[in-house]
């Protein structure tokens, strides 16, 4: 039970990190290999705001999300729009441009914050937990899981607005939308903004109980890719289900095998699922 619950909570974070990635992929067929690094930026933002103001990072959540929204749009305008415009090797160019961005951000974080592990401490929720009939539930994780669910609700609602329909239309047929007066470039950059803002939420919540370092993104990014591919690129529902599944599998594997092998389980599940559904659980075959 304990294992299942902590897996569930971690799974929600994974799901939210993956949702941003999935959104961007579904929209423009771009896998963002700087995804983990963007989340790391959000974590550092939360950390810095906490350090400067002393306020709980959770209060800063809207601010960080907004900041990330701007960063996401900037990344799209400066890099991705250009990468999408190339005539040759489009797939490779976008992989390696976002990969270059990842290394660049990692270097920048190293320069600004140094390589040490940092952590947000002494907040209202820190080190507190609920004990429910022998089950131990740390509050930061619980809050993070709750906020992730809210964020998913938010993403779902956004999907039902006019903007959401424009997103959907752009996803269905990228060229036809121009004919009905949707500015594709604007939709794409808002999509990136939204994807990054999603990461902002995940990053802030994660900062409440996870150390921050320039390399923190790499680990989460790999899990995010696996989650998205498992759920099916472009599917919000897929990201949620796959995130929860991955969180559970990880928790159980860590219980059964050595903790250092905890990721083997999720990777194996992922490969097994792809054997039967090459486009993920919820992907369009």
């Amino acid at each position: 039970m304990q294992v299942a619950l902590s897996g569930l909570l971690m799974g929600l974070i994974y799901a939210l990190v993956a949702a941003g990635l999935s959104l961007i992929f579904g929209l423009m067929d771009v896998v963002n290999f700087a995804h983990g690094e963007l989340m790391m930026v959000a974590m550092y933002a939360a950390f810095t705001l906490w350090q400067v103001s002393g306020l709980d990072p959770m209060i800063m959540l809207p601010l960080v999300a907004l900041l990330m929204f701007g960063i996401g749009m900037a990344v799209y305008r400066l890099l991705i729009a250009r990468a999408l415009a190339v005539r040759f090797n489009k797939g490779m160019v976008q992989i390696f441009v976002t990969f270059g961005l990842a290394i660049f951000i990692r270097g920048a974080a190293q320069m600004v914050f140094g390589g040490e592990f940092r952590a947000v401490t002494g907040t209202a929720l820190a080190d507190r937990s609920w004990h429910l009939g022998g089950i131990f539930l740390p509050l930061p994780q619980l809050a993070a899981g709750f906020v992730c669910l809210l964020a998913f609700g938010g993403l779902y609602l956004i999907g039902r607005t006019e903007f959401g329909h424009a997103l959907e239309a752009t996803r269905e047929d990228r060229d036809a939308v121009a004919l009905i007066g949707i500015d594709r470039d604007r939709i794409f950059s808002l999509g990136w903004g939204l994807g990054a803002a999603t990461l902002g939420v995940a990053g802030v919540m994660l900062a409440g109980f996870y150390y921050v370092s320039p390399n923190v993104g790499a680990n989460f990014a790999l899990i995010a890719y696996v989650t998205v591919a498992l759920g099916g690129f472009g599917s919000l529902m897929g990201a949620l289900v796959a995130g929860l599944l991955i969180g559970e599998v990880e928790a159980v594997t860590a219980q059964l095998l050595e903790p250092s092998l905890k990721q083997v389980g999720m990777f194996a599940i992922y490969l097994a699922v792809l054997m039967f559904r090459p486009r993920g659980l919820f992907g369009k075959i």
Partner: protein, 326 residues
């Protein structure tokens, strides 16, 4: 018969001959180990990228997990050497065979996936192998394996402090991968693989067997990468999962080919000649303080080259050539 293809291929072969001759004398004026080390690494990554290019560039299957073949090749050859005293020259063959077979084993499920699904699956397979090797105590686990020094000899590919012999071994390895790529380019295989890369449906309609094509490309690509691992292990004298079976290494194997020119004969060498010295020099002169400037420079270089020259740096040379030909 003489046409644009045969003429181009003859020119490529002549260029390669001249280049190898130049590379043979290149390290002679430089005596400091640092420079020679840099040259060796550049050749190593050029050769690895050339091997990657056979699958990624020619056949269009973007593998982001090639350090698997490199690492396994290194382990196979090293453990044969350490446990049974098998000279690395034979170890290399074993490494190539095991890595090639492994590539087939990975390809069997993964080639059913397309595009990004394939790329991510290769990362995952390599990560699984990384975690398993890290926890596999019989072969050293996380603490790795030291290659014992059996005395200076060409048979064992061990030289006390001399760098020059390794340079020539790497040059030989690079020449091998280049010749393999050149030969494939002109053969039926090369045509089939490029057809698979450009348009699977059209390729199938012309009788190209898509799955076997990918498998063959993977086996050759993986096998050659495995040889690189075997040589590298003798060169550095110590292997562990972090240095030879890691995610970043997988990217570094692909990167010179991508920056130099995917699917081209000269891209990997050109890409490595730009990337590897820049990377090593910036980390030597800027990275020691841990300031991260070297990473920023490295990342910026990748972004700029990828956006500025999507067809790779070789396109800088080709433009003039196409102009004069037409």
């Amino acid at each position: 018969m003489q046409n644009a293809i045969t003429l181009r291929r003859r020119r490529e072969l002549i260029t390669a001959g001249v280049l190898v001759a130049l590379l043979i004398v290149l390290p002679l004026p430089f005596h400091d180990p640092y420079t020679r080390n840099l040259m060796i690494l550049t050749l190593l990554y050029a050769a690895l990228a050339q091997s990657w290019n056979i699958l990624g560039g020619t056949c269009g299957q973007i593998s982001l997990g090639h350090s698997l073949y490199f690492g396994v090749g290194a382990y196979v050859s090293t453990l044969l050497f350490v446990w049974h005293g098998v000279p690395p020259w034979f170890g290399m063959l074993a490494a190539a065979a095991v890595a090639g077979l492994l590539a087939l084993l990975v390809g069997w499920p993964c080639f059913r996936l397309s595009g990004h699904y394939y790329a991510i699956a290769t990362v995952v397979v390599q990560e699984i192998a990384y975690l398993l090797f890290l926890n596999w105590d019989d072969i050293g686990g996380a603490s790795g394996v030291y290659v014992p020094f059996h005395g200076q000899s060409w048979l064992n590919l061990q030289f006390r402090t001399a760098k020059l012999p390794y340079f020539y071994v790497m040059l030989g390895f690079f020449a091998l991968t280049w010749i393999a790529a050149w030969w494939i380019e002109g053969s039926r295989w090369g045509f089939s693989w490029r057809a698979v890369k450009d348009d699977v449906i059209a390729a199938r309609s012309l009788g190209v067997r898509v799955f076997p094509s990918k498998m063959a490309a993977a086996a050759i690509s993986g096998g050659l990468t495995g040889i690189g691992g075997a040589i590298f292990a003798q060169f550095v004298g110590y292997i562990d999962p972090d240095s030879i079976l890691s995610g970043p290494l997988s990217i570094l194997i692909a990167l010179p080919a991508v920056l130099g020119g995917v699917g081209t004969l000269w891209g990997p060498l050109l890409g490595a000649a730009v990337l590897i010295p820049l990377r090593e020099l910036s980390s030597t002169f800027l990275g020691s303080s841990g300031s991260g400037v070297d990473l920023m420079l490295y990342g910026a270089l990748i972004m700029v080259v990828a956006l500025w020259r999507p067809q790779g740096l070789v396109s800088l040379f080709q433009r003039g050539r196409n102009g004069s030909a037409s």
